[in-house]
């Protein structure tokens, strides 16, 4: 096993990886930008190295600097986390060439799966169903209309080199094709420097279900079941869960086998995810791969008991997987709410600032992966994902009730978060029934659900009391609370009697 690992990332995911290091007796090396000197991952690491100014393009994304730190600290492996350089084949190659271990798939595998068209081709050849579509890049409007006619409108135009919703267009009939093609290739070119566009059948109300896989260097590949990730906004996942309400044991087995096949045919090693779209008749189609540790990996950890990050370390060190497929058992249900620094009541605008109060929920079945603490800064330089709150329950219902309880205990001030938004989802009838698709949030927002809370008017008088009492207290503050200079304050005497700083009875 490694003695020392460099973590080329920051915040909650760096903290998550440091924790795995510590449990295995591995020294963890952190890196930090200017603004991150007091970030939690720096404080928890064994060693930490400064790598440059706050913008990630000058720090976390500069490959040479990370390699230099690896050399200097004598780290034997680099874990890229997610985002930043995690799916950059050039970086993986640099790490390999340096004689270090990249804790992720080999660079050729990232390259193959990162090219959406090559990935579709390779994976469909192995017999895994893919979303119906064209096998090569679109060259002209006429050709596009012809192909669309074959697979049937509506169709989706997608960038071969990209993701995240950029370079994507829905085309409902042939009159829209020309403009959509122009727009998609323009966006694709500017975002990914690759203007190739391909076409897929557009599924109207799909679910997004993904399979977690683990593959070692000895050809063993297993799957850890599915994660339901349909609750998304702007192609960003917001809530994930396992099991999915549409997947039963038989379907899990089929999807799992498909994912294992896809991993094998692409030479995949390490932890990875195969994403599928599931249509309303429960047919599933391969969509794309995520060649990294996923944000939502803890959902799977809670239902399987497998520590995915530690398994990545073992795989990277050349060991065999510690589990065989038949060892994997799923127990209960897990949910993850992504806590974003954004204001759901104000068009989800990001919110930045210093954390004033921070209290985490705890108790049975609760897990938090975060990089937050009181006094830390949430800056505009990085991702607005600040924390992940997970709950586990024997049943989905228990997990949901725990989530509601945990959300109500989670107290973050100084910035605005989407915690109330999650509360609304946990109360939403469609969500509770499992009647969801990737359009869930948009559809519910359209109906004015999820944002505007109407169910809590019993608390309004308490809110009014709190506000009035705060105002009263602040006006009298010098008199009552700064007790040091006012030894004879009645308040202080009362407070001592009660053993607390009390305010009346």
């Amino acid at each position: 096993m490694f003695r020392k690992i460099l973590i080329a990332n920051r915040a909650e995911i760096a903290v998550r990886i440091i924790r795995a290091c510590r449990e295995m007796g591995i020294k963890a090396v952190a890196v930090f930008s200017e603004i991150d000197r007091k970030a939690l991952h720096v404080r928890l690491a064994d060693e930490a190295y400064f790598i440059g100014p706050s913008p990630s393009s000058e720090s976390y994304l500069v490959m040479e600097k990370l390699i230099q730190v690896a050399r200097k600290s004598k780290a034997e492996a680099i874990h890229p986390g997610y985002g930043f350089l995690a799916e950059n084949p050039k970086f993986a190659k640099m790490v390999e060439d340096e004689g270090l271990v990249f804790l992720g798939p080999p660079s050729f595998s990232i390259e193959l799966l990162g090219d959406k068209m090559r990935a579709r081709k390779t994976i469909s050849q192995s017999g895994v169903p893919i979303v119906p579509g064209a096998e090569k890049a679109i060259e002209s409007e006429e050709e596009a209309i012809k192909t669309a006619g074959k697979i049937g409108f509506p169709v989706l135009l997608k960038a071969a080199g990209g993701g995240g919703g950029k370079g994507m267009r829905i085309v409902r009939d042939k009159s829209q094709m020309k403009e959509a093609l122009r727009g998609a290739s323009f966006e694709a070119k500017s975002a990914f420097a690759d203007e190739r566009i391909y076409m897929e059948k557009y599924l109207e109300r799909p679910r997004h279900v993904e399979i977690q896989i683990l593959a070692d260097q000895h050809g063993n590949v297993i799957h850890l079941g599915e994660r339901e990730c349909s609750i998304q906004r702007r192609h960003q996942k917001v809530i994930e869960e396992s099991p999915s309400t549409v997947v039963d044991e038989e379907m899990r087995k089929k999807m799992g086998q498909a994912a294992v096949k896809a991993a094998k045919v692409s030479g995949y090693v390490s932890a990875g995810t195969m994403e599928f779209l599931v249509d309303e008749n429960r047919n599933f189609y391969f969509l794309e791969s995520n060649t990294r540790l996923q944000v939502e990996h803890p959902v799977t950890e809670l239902v399987t008991g497998v520590d995915i990050v530690k398994e990545q370390f073992r795989i990277g060190a050349g060991e065999k997987l510690s589990y065989k497929q038949q060892d994997i058992r799923w127990k209960g249900a897990a949910l993850e709410c992504r806590i974003y620094a954004e204001d759901p009541t104000n068009n989800f605008l990001p919110s930045v600032g210093k954390i004033i109060t921070y209290e985490e929920p705890s108790g049975p079945g609760v897990r938090i992966d975060s990089g937050l603490y009181e006094g830390c800064e949430v800056s505009l330089y990085y991702d607005p994902l600040i924390s992940k709150l997970l709950t586990w329950g024997n049943t989905r219902d228990e997990a949901v009730q725990r989530m509601k309880r945990a959300l109500s205990e989670y107290h973050i001030s100084g910035i605005i978060t989407n915690i109330p938004f999650h509360q609304r989802v946990m109360e939403n009838q469609r969500f509770l029934k499992g009647d969801i698709s990737t359009h869930f949030i948009d559809e519910e927002l359209e109906k004015k659900n999820l944002i505007f809370d109407t169910d809590h008017d019993e608390l309004y008088e308490i809110v009014a009391l709190f506000s009035a009492l705060t105002d009263f207290k602040d006006k009298k503050k010098t008199k009552f609370l700064k007790g040091k200079k006012e030894e004879k304050s009645l308040w202080k005497i009362e407070g001592r009697k009660a053993g607390l700083r009390r305010f009346g009875y």
Partner: protein, 168 residues
């Protein structure tokens, strides 16, 4: 002291008095027993109202109080009863006649300006796109109005609360 507190569409009358170091509170004329302590100064409070327990953090901004409790965030407009009465007598209408502006809710970079000076805007119409946290955020009009003056240019970095657009 007497307060008028508004939460959403509901209005509450609250009277608070301090007698012998104890708080005497009336809510809409009815006495309630109050036990208030500071969990974390200044304003993270625990409140027992007739023995019902509530935990909240209260933040004040220029116009209202934000009360965060039980994983929810509530807004409360609070007025001293005297001030409220004075306003009524003088015919003062809140927030009318004040110059209306669009301020940037966060620091960021102006990516695009979607309106021109002199243009009429409707509520919900996109005005300015500001990039922060790697995301483009469209700032929308909250009211009907006419653009008087655009204070920023595309590509400019802006601070939080910086005025972007002034309306007539």
């Amino acid at each position: 002291m007497k307060y008028i507190a508004k939460v959403k569409e509901k209005t509450f009358k609250i009277e608070i008095e301090e007698k012998n170091g104890k708080l005497e509170v009336k809510l809409n004329g009815n006495p309630v027993s109050i036990d208030l302590i500071e969990v974390k100064p200044p304003n993270f409070l625990s409140l027992l109202v007739n023995n019902q327990s509530f935990d909240a953090e209260i933040l004040k901004n220029s116009q209202c109080y934000w009360v965060s409790m039980r994983g929810e965030r509530f807004e409360c407009q609070l007025e001293d009863e005297k001030v409220s009465k004075l306003k009524e007598l003088s015919g003062y209408e809140s927030r009318e006649g004040i110059q209306r502006e669009l301020k940037s809710p966060m620091p960021g970079l102006v990516v695009a300006i979607e309106v021109k000076e002199g243009q009429e805007v409707k509520p919900g119409q996109g005005l300015v796109i500001v990039e922060a946290m790697k995301m483009e955020n469209e700032l929308k009009a909250g009211f009907k109005g006419k653009v008087k003056n655009i204070r920023v240019k595309q590509g400019k970095a802006v601070e939080k609360n910086e005025v972007l657009i002034v309306f007539e």
